[in-house]
């Protein structure tokens, strides 16, 4: 065999290796570029629980054999919440049937959630004629433990239901009825047997246990001992997921780290934040909150930067779909946290899908959609110079 050819061959190999060199073993993406991963300060035992919850969230795919459906929306938590980030219109869910605080009048017709997929031989649901509905794009699941650990009293203190300070922004609590399996958080506030909802786009969910049990049941047709009724037959059936799995999953959601801001010290980002404060965005998107005492020490008494007040705001007719939950009005939405906003594209297939149903494909469009209580600050944003607008967006993208 001739030497030349051998040398050639070896050269090709070396060249290929060199081409791959900088990525020869793929590095870990920077912590501030991804949303998954646990908060700091967990014990080894807690890490194990987190890992079990991670598996339940991302790797447990349900099939007809292990309980899926028969009606469902998707087959795993992770399929809608890719990388724990915001979802895509493809994984949007639809809810229908409630138009005011008196409750859902379409419960007998499959409300509130539309299960628009079915295992073979079953017919999926359709929105019943005359039912008001709204579409919901999956939110990011990060930093939820911090939000869960905010005391009820903090949320109440931010509310200004009758706009006593006359700034045009009220902020209301969604008072909800709790399912029996919920354990109250310490110092929880009760009014007429109702409690403060803080999760979900209508703030109609008390805590991550309720969110998880509901998601299993309504999104995947998986029955647990907490939500024992099959979403199709409405009959009480054997649990299709163990209590331990639900608890692991709740622990995972609680201990997912908060998004880490990037370019925090960039001059534009700093002045963008100032503009954000100046034009009143921060009246709803409150930059900083503090947790109280909490069952997971790593989350207790911490300040964090979610950019939300966890309250409902009337967002005007443009965002009123006519559908609502709990005591919220159809035009009312809970202020979404803005942390992680700049990383949304990485889980939404390279593009933004913002606002509750993903209708805004740019941050500018999301701001433009703000009406009602946010009309004034939207107007102030529109009056900013193009440079100032860009600087403000740059700040939002750093979150």
């Amino acid at each position: 065999m001739n030497k030349k050819r051998m040398v050639m061959g070896l050269l090709i190999t070396i060249l290929l290796a060199a081409l791959a060199c900088d990525k020869i073993l793929p590095g870990k993406p920077a912590d501030d570029s991804i949303l998954d991963g646990p908060i700091d300060g967990l014990t080894g035992e807690q890490h194990q629980m987190f890992l079990r919850g991670d598996v339940a969230f991302n790797d447990d795919v349900f099939t007809a054999t292990n309980g899926l459906g028969p009606l469902f929306v998707s087959t795993s938590c992770g399929s809608c919440h890719a990388g724990d980030g915001k979802g895509h219109p493809f994984t949007t869910l639809t809810r229908f049937g409630q138009t005011d605080s008196t409750g859902n009048t379409f419960m007998q017709l499959g409300g509130p959630q539309l299960q628009n997929r079915a295992i073979p031989s079953f017919m999926p649901e359709q929105i019943p004629a005359g039912a008001a509905f709204s579409k919901f794009t999956p939110p990011a699941n990060t930093g939820l433990g911090f939000l869960d650990a905010v005391p009820d009293n903090t949320i109440l203190s931010l509310a200004d239901e009758h706009d006593a300070d006359g700034d045009g922004i009220s902020g209301r609590v969604n008072w909800i009825t709790l399912p029996p399996y919920i354990t109250h958080r310490p110092g929880t506030v009760e009014r007429n047997n109702k409690y403060i909802g803080r999760f979900g786009k209508k703030a109609a969910v008390y805590d991550l246990m309720q969110q998880t049990a509901n998601a299993y049941n309504q999104d995947m047709g998986i029955v647990s001992s907490y939500e024992p009724y099959d979403s199709y037959t409405h009959a009480e059936i054997d649990p299709e997921v163990t209590n331990q799995k639900v608890l692991d999953l709740v622990f995972y959601l609680r201990t997912l780290k908060a998004p880490i801001q990037r370019n925090q010290h960039d001059a534009d980002v700093i002045s963008g934040k100032q503009l954000f404060l100046n034009i009143g965005c921060a009246k709803c998107h409150i930059p900083e909150l503090k947790t109280g005492d909490y069952s997971i020490p790593a989350l207790a008494n911490k300040t964090f930067q979610p950019y939300t007040d966890l309250l409902l705001h009337d967002m005007g007719p443009g965002l009123n779909d006519g559908y609502t939950e709990g005591g919220a009005m159809p035009a009312e939405w809970r202020t979404p946290p803005l942390w992680g906003l700049g990383l949304s594209k990485n889980s939404q297939g390279g593009q933004y899908f913002l606002l509750h149903d993903g209708r805004a494909t740019t941050i500018e469009a999301a701001i433009k959609g703000h009406g009602g209580e946010a009309q004034a600050s939207n107007a102030s944003f529109q009056k900013l110079s193009a440079t100032d607008q860009a600087v403000l967006i740059k700040f939002l993208e750093s979150l």
Partner: protein, 408 residues
């Protein structure tokens, strides 16, 4: 339906030709005098050991490796793997009736499979009858998958994660060959048990043909009573190489039970093309396969489950040193490269019109040393770039694999 006609025409057009079957089945020498072996001959084209004058021959291969891979910066550490131990037994029941079985132990004893166990009756070289557990001749890899034949430690992704290699089923069929000067023409056609609804009902959460392999009942009863048809035509020229066209199709769902209708019949159709050649001057060996999968997924499923898939691989193997090394007379050192790609979900989202991703691309440069043709020691670098269904920033897996595979 069209495919069936095409196939039947192709089959008929070869029906008048004449071929011959490998007569050297049980010799100790694996040498292939005709040198016109095709992928379909792979099961018999292996080194067998004969026990004295007994009409039974034994063989097998083993492969083991070490690997260190990282996925997005996180590694599972150093892994030693016993991937496969395969045993073959073949016997000549009479001059023109032979039996061969292949039993495979994967990942230690985690999986034990009968890959092949069938009896061949040679009626004429052009018409042989085969029955038992057969390997469905879709593409080339499924039939020709022995570890020692490859310079790469991992099997091609498209062959094992899109097509279900190794994919064997119980059934019957016919095959034959015809030699004309430098050409050989061949066909194979089988009816076997086939897929089940795990194709769209599996832990992968996507359309995934290999999921049906977990149904061990398929060796005993058909999931829905509809046979799976697999057919292949292939042609080889001594100088040019071998080209194969194959088709596999059937109904995968349970559409009726006890005479009651449950669902409409849902077909799965697979087409594959394979090619291999050795360039005359440089002795570069090129081997590739590409396949298309079409599955009738119920409308009640989202786009998460692909209706169309495609994927394949190409291996380029360049011998660089061919001379006695360390006392091995026929030692060869190769450099090689595999490029592979699978798209599990071709199409676009109804909601946005955007492209559905769910795909992987990999390249695997390799160095392999063959002290003898039946043994390979190989070093691979693997680099996979995998996109989720939405096309988010990819997950990257890369690392080194080192191992051996040898017939014994």
């Amino acid at each position: 339906m069209k495919q069936y006609y095409l196939l039947i025409t192709l089959l008929c057009s070869t029906a008048t030709l004449y071929a011959q079957i490998d007569p050297v089945l049980l010799r100790n020498t694996p040498k292939d005098t005709a040198e016109m072996k095709m992928n379909m001959d792979a099961i018999y084209n292996r080194p067998f050991l004969q026990l004295g004058k007994l009409p039974v021959a034994l063989g097998g291969y083993v492969e083991a490796n070490y690997q260190y891979l990282k996925e997005n910066g996180i590694s599972e550490g150093h892994q030693f793997q016993m991937r496969r131990l395969t045993l073959f037994v073949s016997s000549a029941i009479s001059k023109r009736i032979k039996f061969l079985s292949e039993i495979e132990f994967e990942d230690g004893t985690k999986e034990i499979n009968i890959e092949f166990a069938s009896v061949d009756f040679e009626l004429s070289p052009l018409l042989n009858f085969r029955g038992g557990v057969v390997m469905n001749p879709i593409g080339a890899f499924n039939q020709n998958h022995d570890g020692p034949k490859w310079e790469f430690i991992d099997r091609p992704i498209s062959a094992t994660q899109m097509l279900p290699a190794t994919w064997s089923n119980v059934g019957f069929g016919i095959f034959g060959k015809k030699y004309v000067k430098d050409w050989v023409y061949a066909y194979e056609a089988y009816f076997t048990n086939g897929f089940d609804d795990q194709i769209i009902n599996n832990a992968e959460g996507k359309t995934f043909l290999p999921a049906s392999k977990t149904n061990a009942d398929r060796f005993e009863e058909s999931f829905n009573g509809s046979p799976l048809f697999t057919g292949k035509v292939a042609v080889k020229n001594r100088k040019i190489g071998e080209l194969g066209l194959s088709y596999m199709g059937g109904i995968y769902n349970k559409y009726q039970e006890d005479g009651l209708t449950l669902d409409k019949k849902r077909p799965v159709n697979v087409f594959a093309i394979d090619f291999n050649t050795t360039l005359p001057k440089s002795k570069t060996y090129i081997n590739g396969e590409w396949a298309w999968v079409h599955v009738d997924v119920p409308d009640t499923y989202t786009e998460q489950f692909g209706r169309n898939q495609q994927g394949g691989f190409v291996d380029i193997v360049q011998p660089v040193i061919k001379k006695p090394m360390m006392g091995f007379e026929k030692a060869v050192l190769n450099v090689a490269l595999r490029l592979e790609y699978v798209d599990w979900n071709k199409g676009s989202f109804k909601s946005t019109g955007g492209n559905i991703s769910d795909e992987v691309f990999a390249f695997v440069p390799a160095i392999s040393w063959r002290p003898t043709p039946q043994t390979v020691i190989r070093l691979n670098y693997r680099h996979n770039t995998q996109h989720d269904i939405l096309g988010n920033p990819p997950s990257k897996i890369a690392g080194f694999q080192f191992g051996f595979s040898t017939y014994f």
